[in-house]
Amino acid sequence: MTQLLNQSRQAGAAATPAISLRGVSRSFGDVQAVRGLDLEIGQGEVVAFLGPNGAGKTTTIDMVLGLSRPTSGTVAVLGLDPREAIARGLVSAVMQTGGLLKDLSVRETVAYVASLFASTQNVDVVLEIAGITHLASRKVGRCSGGEQQRLRFALALLPDPALLLLDEPTTGMDVEGRRAFWQAIRADAARGRTVLFATHYLEEADQYADRIILLSEGRIVADGSGPEIRALTSGRVIRALLPDADTRELGRLPGVDSVERRGEVVLVHAQDSDAVARHLLTHTSARDVEITARGLEEAFLSLTGRTAA
């Protein structure tokens, strides 16, 4: 099975995208959760959907899984209708809240789900990959949140899917659990599986994805590698103590993106921090001037149109 999958990857990588969204919108009553997404994800890519709650990440993933239908537009998974791809075991997912039966053991759960597919990987193999072999005979109800999440990962691996979707997979895990979980995912993705994960942890997207898609209010606001996303809003933040700051004048300085006042403090986002700092120190009474680089966090906030907290 794995071998066949790898061969087909080489043969068909260019031909069929793993995910193809065309003008996809989805609304719930008056609420527009997703607004006209156009997106193509190639086979073998590891992609992060990054965005705040309500950005449309889960709605989009649900449509890729065929759990809900777009209000308009089309969704194709490896060239197939999403439900068809599920039925063939080509796509699987680790959901934020997918339920588990507490009265079954870990192994029973995996065997149960394995029986539903036409063919699957060996139960012991997926337990091993997910790192839960030692928990095989434990009741699911006695597993920790992180262990249950690795069980969901094992279930998702059963059909040896060409595409794996992860919806905020590490929510509620401690640091150690999160690291172990991503190690397992990363090691598995190295074999060439397409992975799309939704997260609002910026460092997760930056660390584990080859490509980051920023979503805000149902739209794609940026799409690129981690460094590219950062470069989009390269620049610095200049912070100074300046009561009665003239924000309009500061905003007119060359290379300034935005100016913000918080009490006596003024924050200037700028490409040319030197010019701003020079202006502040020579033309105003500013004190305590600090200059910091913008991280991905800052980039994210400025791209999605929200102000830093």
Partner: protein, 257 residues
């Protein structure tokens, strides 16, 4: 098209398979509440109801004790089957049905599995009541009548398996069980199961339209030697209503997230 799609097949029978059925049965046997409802409750009911003074009066091909035993077996089987069918509500509340939608399992195959489980515990309940009846030693009827009544009771259980699944999709979580318990007891009273209703009374006419009336008449027909046509119509009608209702709710459930 690439080779990826060609190497994958869709499971037969919508994903229905022995491991699925076996695991669901195992879950039932592990569930203490189900077992109490299925094994203990109907037997105790029989001992409580079956101790009236006229137990040895003649009814059709047997006696009153036999009549009551068949009624209790039906009630016990209906209870166990309906509560097993309604366990879809618990699975939904846990989010397990959402997990299952990430697999090729067809909703119809899932419901078929649950229905077979319901039927299995129905058989168990019928068996327990009959064993208690034999041990009690009061029920009298020819062996062939005895077997025929048991088989018809098991068949009647299908109606309540469907009812359970329907209610399980209609009402969330634990509430499904809480609706079914008192609901089925009420239906047993009005359906001529617990207390005999005079066929010439207006209550009989009302009773003839309720879901337990038909299956009750059918399951004891070999004993009474009497089966009104409207009892059969009643049973088939309610089976159709519950199966349609369950299918309708199920399709809604799949469409929605």
């Amino acid at each position: 098209m690439t080779a990826v799609e060609l190497t994958r097949t869709i499971p037969r029978l919508g994903g229905f398979n022995p491991t699925l059925l076996g695991t669901e049965l195992k879950r039932l046997l592990r569930n203490r509440r189900t077992m109490i409802f299925t094994l203990l409750f109907p037997g105790v009911m029989l001992l409580a109801f079956g101790s009236q003074s006229d137990w040895n009066s003649s009814v059709g091909n047997g006696n009153v004790a036999a009549y009551i035993m068949v009624a209790m077996a039906l009630y016990g089987a209906a209870m166990s089957a309906a509560s097993t069918g309604a366990s879809v509500a618990m699975d939904r509340a846990l989010g397990w049905s959402r997990q299952l939608r990430l697999t090729p399992l067809r909703p119809a195959a899932y419901v078929a599995t649950k229905s077979l489980c319901a039927l299995a515990v129905g058989v168990l309940a019928v068996g327990v009541v009959n064993v208690v009846g034999i041990v009690q030693g009061r029920a009298q009827m020819p062996v062939s009548v005895w077997l025929a009544c048991g088989a018809l009771t098991v068949l009647s259980t299908l109606v309540f398996a469907a009812l359970g699944v329907f209610v399980g999709y209609l009402v969330p979580g634990e509430t499904a069980m809480q609706v079914l318990g008192p609901g089925l007891a009420a239906l047993a009273f009005i359906g001529n199961v617990f207390i005999p209703i005079d066929p010439s009374s207006w209550l009989w006419t009302v009773s003839a339209f309720t879901p337990m009336f038909g299956v009750a008449e059918i399951s004891r027909a070999p004993l009474t030697g009497d089966l009104p046509w409207y009892a059969v119509a009643n049973a088939l009608g309610w089976l159709a209503v519950f199966v349609t209702g369950a299918a309708w709710r199920m399709s809604r459930d799949t469409a929605r997230v």
